[in-house]
Amino acid sequence: MSITSQSVYYVGDLKTPLGLHSVISQDFGPSVFDQSLKKDVTFWPVSTFALLFAQAVDYYQHRVDTIRQLEDKLSHLGGQVGSRLLDHFMSNHQKTKREQRILPMLLLVKGALWKHLFGKEADQLEQSNEADNTYYIIEKDAVTNRFISVPRDKSSLNCGAFLAGLVQSFLSDSGFACSVVAHAHKGTTLVVEFDKAIVVRDKSYDGSR
């Protein structure tokens, strides 16, 4: 219940039992919501990232049985980054528009997003010749693989899975349902495969324009 100058409003949420008024307590200290979002990008030493990431890999490899699972975990971790980053990043770069087309979106990922994350653009963006829903983002020297020495018995492990997960959730959450897999080829290649439906939608925009 809040008294305002012009009118009295009952304010509540539907989760509270009926008949009980959900009183909002005023005794809050400054919360994270009072701080302002940082617009400018702060640069962290790559060693810091390397340390954290190495710890993550180490932590996970004690919690999995197969390399596959380990990569899944890493990709899930990356996914967290991707989807949490999405809104904030977009509101900085895309301003008040949502991207609808596949290609600009991928360029955004290759360019701005990579810059935002690693301070440099990704090396290449290619489209597959045979499948129109498949694209390749190529990063020659991925920071995730730079500092991880893979033991011989786990040779198939590719920590680029982290990036794959990041890109996948970044794209899927912004409406481009896709699956992204990391391959060790020309450094690290992220294979982005969009759902058919997405491609169809994209084509439909061509029609309308």
Binding site: Y9, L14, S25
Partner: protein, 162 residues
């Protein structure tokens, strides 16, 4: 069905699976304080029905020509209620249920849409802060008191004269 009176606001954040992440209702207080729970009882389910039905309209407008923008004014309408929506980059939908103005107040319309737009962007701001909090699981129900408190302030700041 009983239909809502004017001066009632209902705000929802809707997740990817159509589930409400956060609900918030503000209801103009008529003199009889006692009647408030009753009013809520009458309308709260209707609020949910209307918003849920409006989601179709929202998604329709997403693929429409204006689809790339975030704010959609009056995507749907139900009796004296009008539904405005805001779709974030991560396709989280903010939906606001607000009374329709009759044409006598049509002068208000322009500024009304501005009011709502500003409100939405303010909410987007705090939502982004929330999403950056690693302890909040994305696309799950929002239970943060801080968030609710902040939103309460935003409603008071922007919407009370709506």
């Amino acid at each position: 069905m009983t239909f809502p009176q004017f001066g009632r606001l209902y705000f929802v954040i809707v997740g990817h699976r159509d589930q409400p992440l956060f609900e918030f209702e503000a209801l103009k207080h008529d003199d009889s304080t006692s009647s408030i729970p009753l009013q809520r009882e009458d309308y709260r389910h209707l609020c949910q029905f209307v918003v849920h039905a409006a989601l179709d309209a929202v998604e329709a407008s997403l693929v429409g020509p204006q689809g790339s923008q975030m704010f959609f004014k009056n995507v749907d309408r139900f009796n004296e209620w009008s539904v405005s929506a805001f779709v974030t980059s991560s396709l989280i939908k903010f939906v606001l249920l607000h009374p329709v103005r009759d044409d006598s107040q049509s002068a208000m319309r322009k500024e009304e849409s501005d009011i709502i737009r500003n409100f939405f962007y303010a909410v987007y701001e705090i939502y982004m802060k929330l999403a950056l909090n690693p302890f909040y699981e994305l696309d799950s129900e929002i239970s943060s008191r801080g968030f609710r408190e902040k939103l309460h302030q935003l409603v008071k700041k922007h919407l009370l004269n709506l």
